[in-house]
Symmetry: C2
Subunit: 267 residues, 2 copies
């Protein structure tokens, strides 16, 4: 033990008794200015800070529908988007939207005639495709319909928990729930199965794209379907979707709730 | 000098030669668990991180129009909003919106008949009221029309530089520029003066609220005015505003550009 203590003491003694330890003028002076040791990481830190700023800015543009259309996320924001959707922030944002929607749902008086409607989109609104996008660069890769169809056919998309909570709330309040999805009729079976396994139930109608709807922009397809609901006397009071094409167009809902989705864009 | 070196050496010697310096069993043991010294700041850091997450989430809800209406910013987000609008992020976001809008403006072919329109809102779209809000808690205080009118009467709002750049771009492309503001007719003089001093010029029409428009929701007032433009044969191709009430409603623009504004909400 004593030996180790001396070993510890030695460099300290050297420092304490050296003759000019702090007089830099006696050291060889560099011919070029040298940055202090921490300058490099500090610069990297600033670069990272700047990138975060720019990617947050991009995410805002997406959520406010300013940048549209877009095919893939900016390459430099790959890590940022991954961190966002796999970290706490995405969950906090999803919860916030459901809470805001729930507060509104509770605040509107329903007529009681069964004509008050809440519309939910399916993909990345009720069901999460995050496992699929984890395997496809979180939006860095161009959307591949074939690959995505294979994923959908598995029927393994988990529920977005905060959306399930809202879903049950609006059912409990007496809303008629319509599910309006860009998935095609061929996926009806697996979609129902997936929804039920994920905990969703008692929807009034599940509307998918039939043969006539193929090739239509989502905004048009969904506007038409909302128009049909209105013709049948329904009042669309709330609409939840992760894409602006779920929410905008004609026969718009009284209030719309945009769930975050920084991974892909559907026109 | 030697004296100071001995002074430095003394506690080191004490440490090195004490008999049981690292054997904690001989120290009096605390009866309650003590957190290591750095736990408190770390906890504070986490708390700050959590607050930032929640306030960013709130800002997203605002920009995506999920939370509406709202009177003041959440009290716990006061510092966050102040940091955002006085720091780099707000400027980066404003620039981003103008760039996105500019790209779109350049991409649409104009007809050349002088009927292609770009609409700009005035307050916090072309002119910045940040100096006013700096004196009023950056949105923490409930909006005070009287105080705000006094600020407007000064005609001292500076230009939002990135908006001025977009403004000149769309003018250059041949758009007819309409300014559509919730300010009342009584403010026409000071508004024109402020706009010109800030560098804005050559707008086709400045539309303010007249006596008939008082008390109307901004969404209604602005929708009506856009409707009138359409009746006159104008095509509204672009619309820039910091409030959703600048952009939504009827006779909506082909594309809308939402400037960030986390400080206040106008229905």
């Amino acid at each position: 033990m004593i030996f180790w203590k001396f070993l510890l003491l030695f460099p300290l003694l050297t420092l304490a008794f050296s003759h000019q330890p702090f007089d830099s003028h006696h050291l060889p002076r560099p011919l070029i200015i040298e940055y202090p040791e921490h300058a490099e990481p500090r610069f990297k830190e600033l670069e990272e800070e700047e990138l975060k700023l720019r990617c947050t800015s991009w995410r805002f543009s997406v959520e406010a529908n300013n940048v549209n259309p877009w095919k893939t996320i900016p390459e430099e924001c790959g890590e940022y988007v991954k961190d966002y959707v796999t970290g706490r922030a995405y969950g906090v944002d999803l919860e916030r939207v459901s809470n805001d929607a729930g507060l509104y749902a509770k605040s509107v008086g329903l007529s009681g005639d069964g004509k008050d409607v809440w519309i939910f989109d399916v993909d990345d609104t009720l069901l999460s495709n995050l496992p699929y996008y984890a395997d496809h660069g979180y939006g860095l890769e161009v959307f591949d319909q074939l690959q995505f169809d294979k994923w959908v056919e598995k029927g393994m998309s988990p529920a977005i928990k905060s959306s399930l909570k809202l879903y049950e709330e609006v059912l409990g309040l007496g809303f008629k729930v319509f599910l309006l999805t860009g998935r095609s009729e061929g996926k009806r079976g697996v979609t129902i199965e997936n929804l039920i396994n994920a905990g969703f139930r008692d929807w009034h109608k599940l509307i998918l794209r039939d043969a006539n709807d193929q090739g239509k922009l989502a905004t048009i397809f969904k506007s038409e379907k909302r128009g049909e609901m209105e013709k049948e006397g329904y009042r669309i009071l709330g609409n939840s979707g992760d894409q602006w094409s779920d929410l905008l167009g004609s026969s718009m809902s009284i209030r719309s709730f945009k769930l975050p989705n920084p991974m892909y864009y559907i026109p």
